[in-house]
Amino acid sequence: MLANYAIVGIFLVAAISFPLIPLVLAFFLRPKRPTPLKTSTYECGLEAIGDVHVQFKVQYYLYALAFVIFDIEVIFLYPWAVAFQVVGLYGLIAATIFLLMLFAGLLYEWRKGALEWV
């Protein structure tokens, strides 16, 4: 089994080297004459005003929170999904309860309006 992951490791090396080779090659080929104007922040030709890192809507954070929880729940279902044809009706009931809880969480969030993007 570890051999399989060793192959993935070799592939990872290949995958890392592929973007790296053109980057290094381009480093030697391209001109590099930066001027203050060139390296200034692009803002449609105007001078950039204000800080970029402003506070963002809390909505983004709420979606991320909901995502983490649903992600964990879905991942918990994966092992069961592999085995559920074997464990049969009993497992069906167990997983249905689990799924219903997922649904309940989603419904709560929906009713509460946390899924509204306004």
Partner: protein, 216 residues
Amino acid sequence: MEVVVQITFGVIAVFILVAAAMVVSVRNVIHAALWLIACFFGVGALYMLLEAEFLAVVQVLIYVGAVSVLILFAIMLTRQITGEGVRQLTNRWPVVLAIATLLFATVLAPTLINQQWNVPPAPPLGTPEPIAGPAELGRGFVNEFLIQFQVVGVLLTVALIGAIVIAYEERARRRKVLTLAEELELKRLREQTSPTVPAPVEAEPVVQESRSASER
């Protein structure tokens, strides 16, 4: 083969330790978060080395793919990203270091002394086979770990509800955006009873769809 695994373990362990040290020592919060992600990856690789492939992938999926995104979002919600000029150490950090090392050693020493290296303890007779693949895990979820499985479900749902209760601001408390009909109604009311009724302070008329305006 054994040697290769040992060397890989060493490399991964050093990587995790370096990453962990960087998390607490860099000044830029985003960089700290990135080092944390690197640290999570290292832990995933460690699981992989222990042949716990499911755990390793889940580590990447949940910690790298989900929890770290949440952390990054939380950081982006704050304003001060770089802690330039903020002191990270107190004056008496050697004392603290000594105490921490001592406490850690007290915990670790008995383990180190009593550990018989490289000899996995023989399981007592009658212990069930260790759970290995996802299929066994899935069977476990609906058999011997049924209660735990359901409790996890309850826990996650409660966490979701709790998160919304804490983080979510009720709609009514946010700035009200009027619809076009409401706006016209308000205008009509204002014209009827003017000039006694001033416009409500928080009501800011906003036309949402430009289409409606252009169809006039």
